[in-house]
């Protein structure tokens, strides 16, 4: 049967067909849908949201050592978090096959950085595969699990946004069920103590040689002969772009297995063609290695290493051709910047923060990063998951030691707090700074589209489970001053901030209210009510001061003709933030 699938759905299908029985991940664009889809195979696979990528990786490696075929997926910056166990596990090797996905994001649609994680394969010395569409993505999981077991290595599948999120046709096959492998205690393999690691280190080099031989022989790396004037070496979605531009007019060496590279195959291909191009997205990963082997090629001279690649760039830079396109005047266009949703529980927090002077606000990764943009403009820094709390700690220490009265407020989401905020907060308590940490508890992982986490009390596969209590955790970490408030009540938010900023000790404010887009569970309906009403502007009272617009709610607009605020009733969720801001009480809730 054939089916239309995104690359992410296809990876999940591959995980199923490959007989994998344990999978873990932390959500992150563009990788999120992989685990969501793996989780649907409830009868055959245990799929879990881990609190972060390191934990996801480690639980999967434990499952592999225990003898199961296992899987972990993450976005490119997530691999940075999992890098520590990844390097060690590369030394020990696997028992049951271990496949991991790094979903890279050329073009930085929703990440902090644009990184080419193929370098991780070289750095950590592991086998790497690069699918170029959904069909390949599915098949490569099955190849990867075999390679992992045969060569005793982690198999990394490197995807990019366009492969993850574009749909193409996939042929479905049956699942192959494999028995659990035997585990026998073997500290010479699984305990990376210095004396043992020294030996494993040598084994790794030996493995890389065997893998290079495999790379030269595997049909994952194949040549398509056409005219030999031009030869193109390419991998991933870049191969599809090259085919789009050159069709059958040039010869190709398509690389599906990209670390270690098939250097013999590359040499013989290079010998036969007059001009050799290496077309790859982002960094010159392949090009550098080819050149280091004394083979001449053209790569990043023509293809930029910044941003997403596309056929247009290849056509223009190599063939010097451009499509005719219509002229439009970009100046006429008004941008559509993203904003916090109507009714977002974070709006009130940033509105109140924005009014404070003499504070630094360290932000974090999540929807609430939008609090940095106008009109709220109330966040100073966004670095990486968890950094708000620890960076805030460092800044606060410096202010205090220099007798500055500037205070630091760290803002972090619930999922991010579990991910890597808890350790930072422990640092705050242990090393004694006086930061105010606001935990924006919207009861879900909002930014990536509503994945559960330890605080929601529901697992990736929909079972009820323990619901981690943030207030209890915070106290256990050593914070004595803790308040949980409703962020839709601006006076509550304001009082909590006054209280916290006045203290000379660290404090935590937990703002507890579900994400406006979240479907509420029965339990949540009891706690928060089942739905909102909507609000309306009373035009006879409105004085057109635009104060309500400074909340940045997309349901609010301003009618330039009669100079009154207007609320879009299809969007408003009646959170009443705007009505609390209005100086003349022109906004009422209607039932």
């Amino acid at each position: 049967m054939k089916k239309l699938m995104t690359g992410n759905e296809a990876i999940a299908r591959g995980v199923y067909e490959a007989g994998i029985t344990f999978a873990a991940a932390y959500p992150g664009t563009p990788s999120t849908e992989i685990l969501e889809n793996v989780a649907l195979y409830k009868d055959d696979i245990v799929a879990e949201w881990a609190p972060n990528e390191k934990v996801a990786f480690e639980s999967a490696l434990g499952a592999s050592i225990a003898g199961a075929r296992t899987f972990a997926s993450m976005k490119q910056v997530g691999v940075n978090v999992a890098a520590d166990p990844m390097f060690s596990f590369s030394y020990t090797g696997v028992n049951g096959g271990f496949v991991m996905v790094s979903a890279d994001e050329p073009g930085i649609h929703s990440s902090q950085t644009e990184q080419d994680n193929r370098y991780y394969a070289k750095f950590a010395k592991l086998a790497m595969l690069e699918p170029s569409d959904s069909g390949e993505a599915k098949e490569m999981v099955k190849e990867a699990v075999k390679i992992s077991e045969e060569f005793d290595t982690i198999a990394l599948i490197r995807m990019t946004t366009r492969v993850c999120h574009s749909k193409s046709i996939v042929e479905l096959n049956e699942r192959c069920n494999v028995p659990l492998k035997n585990y026998t205690k073997n500290i010479n393999k699984y305990a990376t103590m210095p004396a043992i690691s020294m030996k494993l280190r040598v084994k790794v080099e030996d493995r890389m040689k065997k893998l290079e031989k495999f790379s030269n022989e595997t049909p994952l790396n194949y040549i398509e002969w056409n005219d030999k004037k031009i030869g193109v070496i390419s991998s991933g979605v870049a191969y599809q772009y090259a085919k789009e531009v050159f069709g059958d007019t040039v010869s190709y060496l398509k690389l599906g297995f990209t670390y270690p590279l098939p250097m013999d195959k590359i040499k013989s291909f290079a010998d036969e063609v007059d001009t050799l191009y290496v077309i790859e997205e982002l960094e010159p990963f392949i090009e550098e290695q080819i050149k280091a082997n004394g083979i001449d090629c053209i790569g990043k001279d023509k293809i930029p290493n910044v941003g997403e690649l596309n056929p247009h760039i290849i056509r223009k830079n190599i063939l010097d051709k451009e499509n005719d396109s219509l002229d439009t005047d970009a100046n006429k266009l008004i941008p559509r910047p993203p904003t916090l949703c109507a009714g977002c529980p974070h709006r009130g927090v940033f509105y109140e923060l924005g009014k404070r002077k003499n504070i630094m606000v360290t932000g974090d990764i999540g929807c609430y990063g939008l609090g940095a943009l106008p009109p709220l403009s109330s966040v100073d820094t966004i670095i990486c998951m968890g950094a708000s709390v620890s960076a805030g700690h460092g800044a606060a220490k410096v202010y205090r030691n220099n007798n500055s009265d500037k205070k630091v407020v760290s803002v972090i989401g619930d999922s991010t707090f579990f991910h890597s905020g808890m350790t930072g907060l422990l640092d705050v308590a242990y090393n004694q700074s006086n930061t105010v940490t606001i935990i924006l508890d919207n009861r879900i992982t909002g930014m990536t589209g509503h994945q559960d986490h330890p605080g929601t009390g529901i697992t990736a596969q929909g079972q009820e489970t323990l619901e981690a209590d943030i207030e209890v955790i915070v106290k256990a970490l050593g914070i004595r001053n803790v308040k949980t408030i409703n962020p839709l009540r601006l006076n509550e938010m304001k009082e909590a901030l006054d209280w916290a900023l006045d203290l000379n000790e660290p404090s935590v404010i937990i703002t507890r209210w579900p994400c406006a887009l979240k479907r509420r569970t029965e339990k949540e309906k009891n706690e928060f009510g089942s739905r909102f009403d909507i609000c309306k502007v009373n035009e006879s009272i409105c004085i057109g001061c635009k104060k309500c617009l400074s909340t940045g709610c997309p349901a609010l607009s301003f009618n330039l003709e009669d100079k009154k605020a207007v609320i879009n009733e299809n969007m408003c969720l009646g959170c009443e933030i705007c009505s609390q801001v209005c100086p003349v009480n022109a906004i009422d809730t209607i039932k």
């Binding site: 046709i169 789009e244 596309n310 396109s325 439009t328 559509r336 993203p338 930014m447 607009s557």
Partner: protein, 191 residues
């Protein structure tokens, strides 16, 4: 046949993605090779959304470059103008006569640009402007605007030999099947 490229653009929440899903599934059922790509960053939060569908005997790239789309279907006026450069010189436009102000416009910092529709119609020889909101309201649900536009697209691309009703039956919730089929038919009649 050569590969055909269809670009659908709009604003997050308008249903472009569902329309594209139905389109791609129908094309697959008709035995075309097909690839589809969505570009939506943080679309939930009101950003612009585009989906790209390419079909033919063999499709390589899932994305459409400047001057490459055979047809541009826009769910919103300003978004149509934003993506116009992706249209082939002799390509077609289907434009929904519908405006959605973006955040700077809502907050009174900018005004919705005037005359975009007129400029598009002048620039593109083969353009069709549809008031899909009106048609969708007549049918009984403004949210079917996306399927009205899909109907117009299918007719324009001469893809009406495919069993679209079957695809709709398999891709929308039970209680919305009939209204969506009606929307599709009305959309096809407009062309």
């Amino acid at each position: 046949m050569d590969t055909k490229s269809i670009l659908l653009v709009g604003v997050g929440g308008q249903g472009t993605i569902l329309a594209s899903k139905i389109l791609t599934t129908g094309l697959m059922n008709a035995d075309y090779d097909v690839k589809m790509s969505e570009i939506h960053g943080m679309s939930q939060r009101g950003g612009s959304v585009s989906t790209q569908v390419r079909y033919g005997k063999k499709v390589y790239s899932p994305i459409i470059g400047l001057g490459e789309a055979d047809i541009l279907v826009s769910f919103e006026e300003m978004e149509c103008y934003r993506y116009l450069r992706y249209l082939k010189k002799d390509g077609n436009v289907i434009l929904n006569d519908y405006q959605m102000p973006s955040a700077p416009i809502l907050s009174g910092k900018a005004e919705y640009p005037e005359g975009l529709k007129e400029e598009i119609v002048k620039k593109v020889d083969n353009s069709l402007v549809i008031d899909a909101a009106k048609i969708a309201k007549e049918i009984g649900n403004i949210k079917t605007m996306n399927i009205v536009l899909l109907g117009a697209l299918i007719k324009s691309m001469k893809l009406d030999f495919i069993d679209w009703e079957d695809v709709i039956r398999n891709n929308v919730k039970e209680k919305f099947i009939d209204i969506n089929i009606k929307a599709l038919k009305r959309g096809m009649e407009v062309v």
